[in-house]
């Protein structure tokens, strides 16, 4: 397992480059979370970060040839959707009171 992590095959170079791009996008979304003037800005940035991590997991599963990582990615996407819905209803309910 560890030697597969260290020595990536050369055919997966585009997938690895795509993972690097996704990490850069994660940093940009993190800046929006820190800066974001309102709470909905932060929530949408968190949602985008979750789907970026899902993309990273999928690419990692493709590089390592592990199907189980795809399952983890689907579960993470489900949790991210539920948390976004919960944040939306929290924002809406807090203004109504």
């Amino acid at each position: 397992m560890t030697e597969r992590l260290v020595g990536l095959p050369a055919t997966s170079l585009p997938l690895t480059a795509a993972m690097v791009i996704l990490v850069g996008a994660l940093l940009l979304a993190l800046i929006r979370i820190v800066r974001g003037p309102t709470i909905p800005d932060r929530v949408i940035a968190l949602d985008l970060m979750a789907s970026l991590v899902v993309g990273l997991l999928l690419l990692l599963g493709a590089v390592l040839d592990l199907l189980a990582i795809v399952d983890i990615a689907i579960v993470l996407a489900l949790i991210a959707f539920l948390s976004t819905v919960a944040f939306a209803s929290l924002i809406e309910r807090r203004t109504r009171e």
Partner: protein, 133 residues
């Protein structure tokens, strides 16, 4: 050949998600940020899912990829719509010259008025406050 196709899919998907993140950082208000993140992010993750499914190649992997892409297509617009509605009701103003929804949306019953006779609304969303701000 398959390596070429999957590399192209993964790279274009990652670039679309980077565009989504740049839009999230650079757009002027919450609603434009939300549409940038929702649309570009959805297409990007779909391309990455397709790349992963084709790379792994088995029937099970393709089925996983199909289910994951179906899930993303169904949930991302719903999440973005809910967040946009919650943000509008909590008083986040859009970056436009005139808010067309102001005074026409009843915040208690969630009914849309015609605009001829403005419905009674919460203090956050009426035309007077829009004009003064």
């Amino acid at each position: 050949m398959i390596v070429f196709v999957t590399g192209l899919l993964a790279l274009s998907g990652a670039l679309l998600m980077l565009i989504a993140a740049v839009g999230l950082l650079r757009m002027p208000d919450f609603y434009t940020r939300m549409q940038a993140a929702a649309k570009a992010g959805t297409l990007g993750i779909l391309l990455i899912v397709a790349a992963t499914g084709i790379t792994l190649g088995s029937v099970s992997a393709l089925l996983h990829a199909f289910l994951a892409s179906l899930f993303f297509v169904l949930t991302t617009p719903v999440a973005a719509h809910l967040l946009g509605r919650a943000a509008y009701l909590s008083g986040v103003r859009p970056w436009v010259l005139q808010d067309e929804l102001a005074g026409r949306y009843h915040t208690q019953t969630h009914e849309l008025g015609s605009g001829r006779a403005p419905t009674a609304s919460l203090p956050g969303i009426d035309q007077a406050e829009q004009a003064s701000s």
